[in-house]
Amino acid sequence: MAEIVPFVPPTPALTNFDEWGFFIDPNRCIGCRSCVAACAECGTHKGRPMIHLDEMDRLHSPQTAPTVCMHCEDPICAQVCPADAIKRSEDGVVHASQKPRCIGCQNCELSCPFGVPIVFSGLEQMLKCDLCYDRTSEGLRPMCATVCPSQALLYAPKAEISRMRAAQPVREFMVGGLSVKTKNALMVPDPEAPLFLDAALLIEGEL
């Protein structure tokens, strides 16, 4: 029997964008809404939760699923932004719209392949999950991942994830025929192939 090596929890100051990753497993979500409450505490969008917690099929199942920004490598929200207000920093984090530039057109909200950004029309501004940049840039874990009791949202060392989970991270998604690569990962049993998002299956009730 293999020796069990104790996993020493890293001190928060040791987290960094290169070695740590965000891993999402909607299957584990228990709908407690801790992430929603914690997200509202984030300094970059104070008082407004940017995490989405959706019920899947309320009539048939209590299942809920959390969605945070996947932080695309070539974000479509930024490409369709007429004000050039959405920027991806060198560490791979796609930030909420720059306040001086955003003109509230909603292109980003309607184009995001994962349905993440929210445009607040009164504020004329798009806000979205920015990986709790005020925390993660200082080595702390994102609010939602810190409080998620079932670890549907997990911020952990990338090197450790293969030991921690049977399912493994996938970072490529096929939106119809369009490949979208992301910084954050979704957990699947077979990470070699991208995750296909086929709306036809959703519309026809086959998902």
Binding site: P100, Q151, F173, A200
Partner: protein, 370 residues
């Protein structure tokens, strides 16, 4: 290799910027009656203004050439050239008052932010409203005839009234830039305090984009105020040096306009065009989501975004022959993501399904270990 290709300049913005600068130079020449109204002491500022005009216009034309920006820019131009122009202009005027002058939407973001921004914006607007006509020679002041105690104002080379030097109107007019400078310094200070207190802004701000413009505005304002201090309290001591330093800071500010945060002043009016676009879209109606049936996207925006996807090489984002990814509402896109993962995991959302062999217990929250 030509200079423009070495500098990676694009033709359309280059031509647009050249024409805009020529137009401004022409207006300056006409307004100051062929150079007769120009103040030689302000020539440095005039040259910097023309350079800044070229830079700002280049970036503006490059910006409006981006596919996404062009979508709104063309729509606004089309609307203003149509029969709907009058209604659109009236709507834009009201929105301009609310969003550009009063900036109430910033107040909704945060009251402190609005206070700082309003002081800076109104101070800068006031300063430019005073300075530019003087620099361009459109407005000038001379002694009224042989009376050294009266000042004569000239607008575009025409006499526009005179006033005594010791009158309240003279005091207000000659100190207009001081009021503006005080507003800008107060606004920038408030902005620095707010940024220091705001965890989010502290984490995301960049020195070159967020802080340098504030420092530059303070430098311009303080050196401008020092000119008044020199004249009013120090019998004009060091005035020449101070005037040179002030001119240097103003030129730096003008030349930084195309590159930094202050370019948003030119971008912000696009918000009015977006408002017109949205209003037209609402009148046309919203298209329902292909999955849940809830109307969510304005018909004109769906049409234009599909065309934009084509222009941006995103045209592959279609599901089968009939459904574009844009035709799913954001909530259904999120459900699609979760359900696709669910399917890949073997249907684990189903509470009655057999537990897949790879299913694992929840990790220890302390050790993160399954």
């Amino acid at each position: 290799m030509s200079l423009s290709s070495r500098l990676d300049l694009e033709t359309r913005p280059l031509v647009g910027a050249a024409l805009t600068t020529l137009a401004l130079a022409g207006l300056v020449f006409l307004g100051n009656r062929g150079g007769r109204g120009l103040d030689p002491a302000l020539l440095g500022y005039l040259v910097a203004c023309l350079f800044a005009c070229f830079g700002v216009a280049y970036r503006y034309w490059a910006w409006t050439g981006r596919p996404a920006t062009r979508m709104y820019f063309r729509h606004t131009l089309r609307t203003l050239a149509s029969r709907k122009a009058l209604g659109a202009l009236a709507r834009m005027a009201l929105l301009g008052l609310d969003q550009l002058l009063l900036q109430r939407f910033i107040g909704k973001r945060s009251l402190k932010r609005w206070g700082a921004h309003a002081l800076i914006a109104w101070g800068c607007l006031l300063a430019f409203a005073v300075t530019l006509p003087l620099v361009f020679g459109w407005v000038r002041f001379t002694s009224a005839g042989l009376d050294p105690n009266r000042y004569q104002a000239w607008f575009f080379g025409f006499p526009a009234g005179s006033f005594p030097l010791d009158s309240p109107i003279a005091f207000i007019t000659f100190h207009m830039l001081d009021w503006a400078a005080l507003m800008v310094v107060a606004g920038c200070t408030l902005a620095f305090v707010r940024r220091r207190q705001d965890e989010g802004d502290s984490a995301t701000q960049r020195f070159d984009f967020d802080l340098a413009p504030l420092l530059l505005l303070i430098a311009v304002s303080v050196t401008g105020l020092l000119l008044t201090v020199s004249v009013s309290f120090l019998q004009g001591r060091n005035y020449g040096t101070l005037a040179f330093v002030h001119e240097l800071t103003v030129i730096l500010l003008l030349l930084s306009l195309p590159f930094g945060k202050l370019f948003h002043v030119v971008q912000r009016p696009a918000q009015l065009g977006v408002a017109i676009y949205k209003a037209e879209g609402e009148a046309e109606g919203r298209v329902p989501c292909r999955s849940c049936g809830e109307p969510f996207i304005r018909a004109n925006q769906l049409r234009d975004l599909k065309a934009l996807y084509g222009a941006l090489d995103l045209g592959a984002a279609v599901h089968g022959p009939r459904t574009h990814h844009l035709e799913l509402c954001p909530r259904c896109k999120r459900r699609l993501l979760a359900k696709a993962q669910w399917k890949r995991m073997g249907g684990a959302f189903d509470p009655f399904a057999d537990l897949p062999e790879w299913a694992e217990p929840i990790a220890d929250p302390q050790t993160l270990r399954s």
